[in-house]
Symmetry: C2
Subunit: 337 residues, 2 copies
Amino acid sequence: MAILGATGAVGREFVRLVHERNFPISVLRLLASDRSAGKTITFRGSEIPVLSTAESSFDGVQIAFFSAGSQASKRWAPVALQKGAFVIDNSSAFRMEPGVPLVIPEVNWHQVRDEDRLFPVGNCTAILLVMAVAPLRKFGKLRRLVVSTYQSASGAGARAMRELEEQTRSLAEGRTPVAEVFPYPIAGNLFSHNTPINEYGYNEEEWKVIQEARKTLEMPDLALEVTCVRVPVLRAHSLSVNVEFEGPAPSEAAVREAYEAAPGIALVDDRESNRFPMPMLAAGKDDVLVGRIRRDYTNPNAVSIFVCGDQLRKGAALNGIQIAERLVAESRMPVGA
Amino acid sequence: MAILGATGAVGREFVRLVHERNFPISVLRLLASDRSAGKTITFRGSEIPVLSTAESSFDGVQIAFFSAGSQASKRWAPVALQKGAFVIDNSSAFRMEPGVPLVIPEVNWHQVRDEDRLFPVGNCTAILLVMAVAPLRKFGKLRRLVVSTYQSASGAGARAMRELEEQTRSLAEGRTPVAEVFPYPIAGNLFSHNTPINEYGYNEEEWKVIQEARKTLEMPDLALEVTCVRVPVLRAHSLSVNVEFEGPAPSEAAVREAYEAAPGIALVDDRESNRFPMPMLAAGKDDVLVGRIRRDYTNPNAVSIFVCGDQLRKGAALNGIQIAERLVAESRMPVGA
């Protein structure tokens, strides 16, 4: 197995998951940009050196996980594929390419064909949204989703996480937080997602969520409004979601039951004690938390939910390794990748 | 003038505004619960003692501002009114009472009748929402609003603000944040608004926003879904708002123009530099910031906006003093209250 971007926030989480989940590997090749090459990462008690990436890096590799940005994926994915590896790519490089499956194993594994060898992992927010919406499809045709997000620093990578921690220290000590990774201070503040705005007024993150959710849910025309916001939280994303159906909304009991039966979802919905999904419960966890389930009081066709999930796990690395595990389970990939 | 709850977060802001705006007063009587009596508050260079509240506290008072919670308002507002004072009440005690105007001066001053002497100040989130939605009414009948909030600690009072500051120091020093005012740590976290959930699944805050916005906008049947969330921000609330009209949505240019002309609104909507409303721009400011204006890409009848306003100012104390200023300007109240 090769991991490109091994020193990043998602790459490190992926290494951790390979260990935790005891994924069968015969060799682990950790790769990074030239800048990060020379570092080491601890894996099963050994210090593994992080190497610069070259064509030969993929020789003999059965499976490669990429999390070094779109440019690196575009450069190296064709090389790895050509050398016979399966590629699981956390970047946005190939997600919307026609014919390339955009898979959340719990939701749309049926879209995978025998010949597929390239598996993009969706945008973190899109994955969490789709995980929460997919179990509701059985209640009738979806008319429209309206989503507002509360996105953590981890979505912008390890440097952004350190920036939030550093700014938190500044705030605590009465200094002015200094912004370098993000355009504005994130500690004690929040702001519209820091990606370029397109001609329709949507930032890149919102656009990905709209397009990718439509693709993964196989609903190309789904009405779906998304507002993406960064908040001073370290590694779990939250989403406030209103789901409008074409017909009457299901009962709250039916929605709860659907979530209790859904793989990868944990129901956190205790009105008595005011306990609902929140980052402190989701961080470091595999499950996507869903709660605050209620019929929309002013729209008989809608329900509202609140969703929270670890951005680095189900939003990225976990979804990636789940794809790899499925490939092994279905004997598409030899054990000992 | 009497200010009940003078030592609270809103009370202190009100005292500050009386000074800043040079509101005409002949005497300033600062009142509080027995617990806070004996403190002093600086006003125009003098230390004014904070007194316990008694019936005689309202003798000779022309105007009383109440911000000590619903119970205190229910106890003392009738006394102050009976003694001939105008009462501006920041609590929820009288907001929904039929015949009592719920006024945002910029929006619905026309609802005030000559005989009105009791003026509740609306819920902070409802005020910010109504300020942002009111200028859009001229574009056609509103069909539905879907709102998610990002609410600061100040909405829960001065102790909650200190708790966020203390927890921020804990996080910075690697200690576990201790929650006393809020049910869960707020620093590095966020959670569904910490008020009881009613039989319909809405917390008290959401319910207030729905009912009060309908009353202030004079649209008793408005479809309005609200999800209220606490975030680790000190004193400015943010709202992500999707506004659906019965007919086609106005152009973005028309919406911008409407906001530019709206009193009390500042447009912050720079796509080039990714600069939109955020707490660091709104804190301590009078204007409600509106931006991220865009036509809803998947619904031709809707627009989305992002709103940010100082919870202690327009969300509470500022709206209160603006009501007092109107009463003076219209000669309903003698100058030198």
